[in-house]
């Protein structure tokens, strides 16, 4: 729990209302552990470095925008009869945005995953008693995001994305635990933020 609180404290400055720390975008997503076990994830994105690259494609000049971004996040999932996971795994991502509004990100993250194990009982003499059981892990993640700006022509404030990812939680037996997750969400541009 201390690790979780520490992760939250580390994330809080990014979510603060200070104007200079206002995130460029805010993500709200369905987070499915093994795709089908539902959860929710909220993330904020801060571009650390942005640059453009122009290249010629069949006689047409196109400009690609590239970014290094930091995304603190907070989420949970519920896997019936197995566990409820709460996590904060801040992610560093490299993003490549096409003029069409499509973008691709590759991200690596490190943070915390805590799980609540449901319905744990122990025998105490001839009586049973319920036990509240939590397990704490450090977590590392790797993700691939495919996104599309849905409102490029208009205000440019919304896009959707699809983000498969794997998470390795440790320590565990024998060394750690692998998870696959699928995130499908919307990305909101905040006032003064970049396009996606």
């Amino acid at each position: 729990m201390r690790t979780f609180i520490l992760s939250l404290l580390l994330s809080v400055p990014f979510l603060s209302t200070a104007q200079q720390l206002r995130p460029a975008t805010v993500d709200v997503a369905y987070f499915g552990e093994t795709a089908t076990h539902p959860g929710l994830k909220v993330a904020a994105t801060y571009p650390l470095k942005t640059w453009t690259k122009t290249k010629d494609k069949r006689g047409t000049e196109i400009t690609l925008e590239k970014r290094i971004e930091l995304s603190p996040n907070l989420g949970f999932y519920h896997h019936c009869h197995f566990q409820t996971g709460l996590f904060s795994i801040p992610e560093l991502a490299y993003t490549r945005l096409k003029p069409s509004g499509r973008y691709l990100s590759i991200g690596l993250g490190a943070g915390y995953l805590g799980t609540i194990v449901p319905e744990v009982y122990r025998l105490h003499g001839s009586e049973w008693e319920r036990s509240f059981t939590t397990i704490h892990y450090a977590a590392a993640s790797a993700s691939l995001t495919l996104g599309k700006d849905r409102n490029t022509v208009g205000t440019g404030k919304l896009n959707t994305y699809f983000k498969p990812q794997c998470i390795y939680a440790f320590p565990g037996t024998p060394r750690g635990v692998w998870y696959l997750a699928l995130e499908v969400g919307v990305r909101f541009q905040t006032l003064g933020g970049h396009k996606n």
């Binding site: 805010v26 319905e119 009982y121």
Partner: protein, 360 residues
């Protein structure tokens, strides 16, 4: 922004509230479906109890393998007990340590088998207390061997009122190699006689009989091809016995059900080199545990069920176990037209045997 975060917070709260809703634990009923964990030291044993707990009898299923996930076995209803045994009684399934559920850090102990017997004991005692029910253990294959170890370790202090061993071999220790191959030779001989009497594959079975007459003992041979006789036995069994009684394969739909709706994280299970390591450790332990020499210490009520065409645990071996145990109340049933999973090969016959035994 504020609205978005507020909405997310509401959703999070509702989801957590819903996940905590549950009826009172361990209420008796005719169609229960209870999932929970039993804490045993550093391990949380996942348990599923399904069926008729109001009957006052719970069959505790002990998975074979070793290394198979029992909860998936139940989840896809592989044995097809939902509409048979689970209507009359309750059936409890639990994942053996590290075989399916993968949460936190735990140890397998110095001796995996002993640790697993301890887990089995913890689940048994918990079920008996929580449901105030009579527990009957039902161990299949390796699970039956584990059950025998429990019976020997606990003796008169064992919690279950009876035990059922299904297709459960005991000759897994290296010193019993001779005995194992004696049973296997007898199995092939008896099967040949049975099949010849039924007029099935007469030419091939006559060849088997000639081969068996030429080799009164199946043993290692001197020289480069020391496993020649064992390999020939395997070949005959593969070609003439196993083809009629193969293990039932799960369907694509059942695999998908496990992948996307399992009661645990299937990624850990599928990437389970660890499971293989533990299974190997158990098999090595079994090679030095002389289970056959301890069978006389078994005194509890015992039902042995086997398949006439089971090449992994031949009925000849089960008859040997039946003779060796000291139980005053013991029964044995060999089901015809059934292999190593007699409960799927002949489900009705299996159901009738178990039902009759439990209703005694």
């Amino acid at each position: 922004m504020k609205k978005t975060l507020f909405g997310a917070g509401i959703l999070l709260t509702v989801a957590l509230a819903l996940s905590s809703c549950r009826k009172e634990p361990f209420e008796l009923g005719t169609a229960v479906n209870d999932s929970f964990h039993v804490e045993n030291g550093d391990y949380l044993i996942p348990v599923l109890v399904r069926g008729n707990t109001a009957s006052g009898k719970i069959l505790l299923y002990i998975q074979g393998g070793p290394g198979y996930a029992s909860l998936d076995f139940a989840h896809i209803d592989y044995p097809e007990w939902k509409n048979t045994l689970e209507k009359d009684f309750a059936v409890a399934y639990y994942d053996q340590r590290g075989m399916g559920n993968w949460q936190g850090q735990y140890s397998q102990g110095d001796n995996v088998s002993a640790t697993w017997v301890d887990d089995l004991s913890a689940v048994t005692d918990f079920l008996s207390t929580a449901y105030d029910a009579d527990i009957v253990m039902l161990g299949h294959s390796f699970g039956g061997g584990l059950m025998y170890e429990y019976m020997i370790a606990k003796g008169d202090a064992a919690t279950p009122v009876a035990f059922i061993a299904v297709d459960a071999p005991v000759t897994t220790d290296s010193e019993q190699d001779t005995l194992r191959w004696k049973f296997r030779r007898e199995f092939l001989w008896n099967t040949a006689q049975l099949e010849l009497s039924r007029g099935r594959r007469v030419e091939q079975w006559e060849e088997v009989v000639d081969w068996l007459n030429a080799h009164p003992v199946i043993e290692l041979l001197p020289g480069d091809n020391e496993y020649e006789l064992m390999n020939q036995w395997n070949e005959y069994v593969e070609d003439l016995v196993y083809i009629d009684y193969p293990e039932k394969l799960p369907t694509v739909g059942q695999y998908a059900k496990v992948a996307f709706a399992s009661r645990y994280n299937p990624i850990s299970y599928l990437s389970g080199r660890y499971r293989g390591e533990i299974a190997s450790r158990i098999l090595l332990e079994e090679m030095v545990v002389p289970l056959t020499s301890q069978l006389g210490e078994i005194t509890q009520d015992l039902l042995i069920v086997g398949g006439r065409f089971d090449d992994i645990c031949p009925p000849e071996e089960e008859l040997y176990v039946f003779d060796q145990v000291s139980s005053a109340n013991k029964e044995i049933h060999i089901i015809d037209h059934a292999g190593h999973t007699c409960y799927t090969d002949q489900p009705e016959a299996f159901y009738e045997i178990i039902k009759t035994y439990l209703n005694q």
